[in-house]
Symmetry: C2
Subunit: 254 residues, 2 copies
C-alpha cells in the first residue's frame, strides 16, 4: 500500500453550448484518461456558462482545491470568448498582449489587416502566463499558476493537452482492470462489498449493462499497485465463479 | 423583452466512472434539451466521485442555488451506490424502507429470497421523498424537496426524467435558432458583438467547426421571444451577407 501524495485535478468546462445540450462534451474522457496515465486523479468537473463572475469565482475555488486545474472553451475571438480575461481577473493580474502569441497568429494570415482587433484578443494572456502550443489552429492556450487554459474544440484541446502533459508532476500511474460477467449487481453486491473492504486502497466500481440479448455487470478495480491489483482480480474471478457466474477480463463483449 | 422569473436547474453527475474516463456521460445533453423545452435553464453541471461528504456538501450547495437539482448515478445495490443515503443526510432526514418501492422491486423477482439485503437498499429513500417511476428496470428514483434523484444508466435516466417533467414549473420555453456560414469567427466577431449588444436578452453563441473539406462558424441565438428571435436571425443573415458570406439556417452540412 502506497502512502505517497495523491495528486489531484479539476476540470472546468466553460460554455453555454454544453449547458444547452447543443454540444456533447468530448474533452472530459480524453483528459481523464491522459491524467490516469501520469498518476493525476481527476476529482471534479464543472460545466458553467459564459458569465464572468461565475468563471472567476469557480477558477479561484478550484485552483485552491486541486493541484491542477484545466479549463476548456471560451478562448476564441468572439464576444462570448471571455475565459482569458476572466483568468487574469481571477489571478488579479493585467491581461496583456503577448508578442510571441501575436507572432504566431500573424503567421497564419496572408495580410497584416487580417489580424483584426477581434483576433488580436487571442494574443492577450494574463501577465506572467506561459503559452500552450496550438499545432492545429495556431491561437495558443496558456498556463498561469496551476491553471491550464485550453480550447474547447476537441482536436485543439487534445493537441494542447498532449503538449503540456510533460509539465505535470503526478504520482504512480492509476492502473485499471475490468472484469465482466452475466450476473446482476444484486447477486454480486454483498461479496463485492467485502472485497472492497479487504482492498481499501483500491476503487472498486460496479456498472450494470443492458445490451441486445443480455445483461450483466462490469466490475472495475483501480489502483496503483500492479501486484495487489492482480491479487484482487484473482479474488474477483473466484468470487464470481462461486456465485455461478462466468467471469472474463474486459468490457462486455458486444 | 420578458421580465418573468428565470427558472434554473443544476445537474449533479455522481460517479467515479465518469471521472476516470471509463464512461462517457450521455445524460447532460438529454436533460438540457428536455429542460429547454419547458423553460428551465440548466446553469451548472458538476461531476463528483462516490464520496459521501462530497455528495452531501454538493447537494446542499446546489439545492440552495438553483430552483431544481437533478442527480444521476449511485442508486443501485452495490457498495459504491451511496447517493440515496447521502441525500437523506443532506436533508437531515432518516433513510427508510419504502413499502411501495419494495413492492415494485419484489414484483420483478421469481423468488422472495432474490430480494436480498443489497437489493433491498434500493427500496430505501429519504423519509418524505416521493418515488420516481422506473419503467425500465423497476428500482425507483425519488424526489425530495427540489432534488430529483435518478439512475445513471441513460435509458433509465431518460425514462425517469420523462416521467417527472410534468412536476416541473418552468418559464417560457427557450427557443434556439442556428445560422451557419463559411466565414471564420475572426471576420464575424466585431459585428456579432454589436448584434449581441442590440439583443441583450438573447444568448448569442459562436462555434467554429472544422470538417473535411472546409471550416466555418455556426451562430446560435437563444431566447424566449419568437418574433424578436426572427428579427435577430434576419439581421444575422444580412450581416453575414454584407461580410461576403453565404448564410444558411441550421448546423453545418456534412
Amino acid at each position: 500500500m502506497s502512502s505517497e501524495k495523491i495528486v489531484t485535478a479539476g476540470l472546468l468546462i466553460i460554455g453555454n453550448e454544453i449547458l444547452s445540450g447543443r454540444t456533447q462534451d468530448a474533452n472530459l474522457a480524453y483528459l481523464a484518461r491522459g491524467l490516469n496515465g501520469i498518476g493525476v486523479r481527476l476529482r471534479e468537473v464543472r460545466v458553467i456558462p459564459d458569465i464572468a463572475e461565475t468563471i472567476i469565482a469557480t477558477v479561484n475555488e478550484m485552483r485552491a482545491k486541486f493541484d491542477y486545474v484545466f479549463t476548456t472553451g471560451g478562448i476564441g475571438p468572439t464576444h462570448d470568448d471571455i475565459t482569458s480575461e476572466c483568468i487574469a481577473r481571477a489571478f488579479g493580474v493585467p491581461w496583456v498582449l503577448d508578442e510571441e502569441a501575436k507572432r504566431r497568429l500573424a503567421a497564419g494570415y496572408a495580410n497584416a489587416s487580417d489580424l483584426n482587433e477581434a483576433r488580436l484578443r487571442m494574443a492577450h494572456i494574463p501577465q506572467g502566463a506561459v503559452l500552450i502550443d496550438n499545432p492545429v489552429s495556431r491561437a495558443p492556450g496558456f498556463q498561469v499558476g496551476n491553471v491550464f487554459v485550453m480550447a474547447g474544440v476537441p482536436s485543439v484541446m487534445q493537441a494542447m493537452f498532449d503538449g503540456i502533459k510533460h509539465r505535470l508532476v503526478g504520482g504512480a500511474p492509476v492502473l485499471s482492470r475490468t472484469v465482466t460477467c452475466g450476473l446482476p449487481e444484486g447477486v454480486l453486491a454483498a461479496d463485492l462489498g467485502r472485497l472492497q473492504n479487504r482492498y481499501p486502497d483500491f476503487d472498486i466500481g460496479s456498472y450494470p449493462y443492458y445490451r441486445r440479448g443480455g445483461f450483466g455487470t462490469s466490475l472495475v478495480i483501480r489502483g496503483t499497485d500492479a501486484a495487489r491489483l492482480g491479487a484482487a482480480i484473482a479474488e474477483l474471478f473466484g468470487m464470481i465463479a462461486a456465485l455461478g457466474g462466468e467471469p472474463y477480463e474486459g468490457e462486455p463483449v458486444a
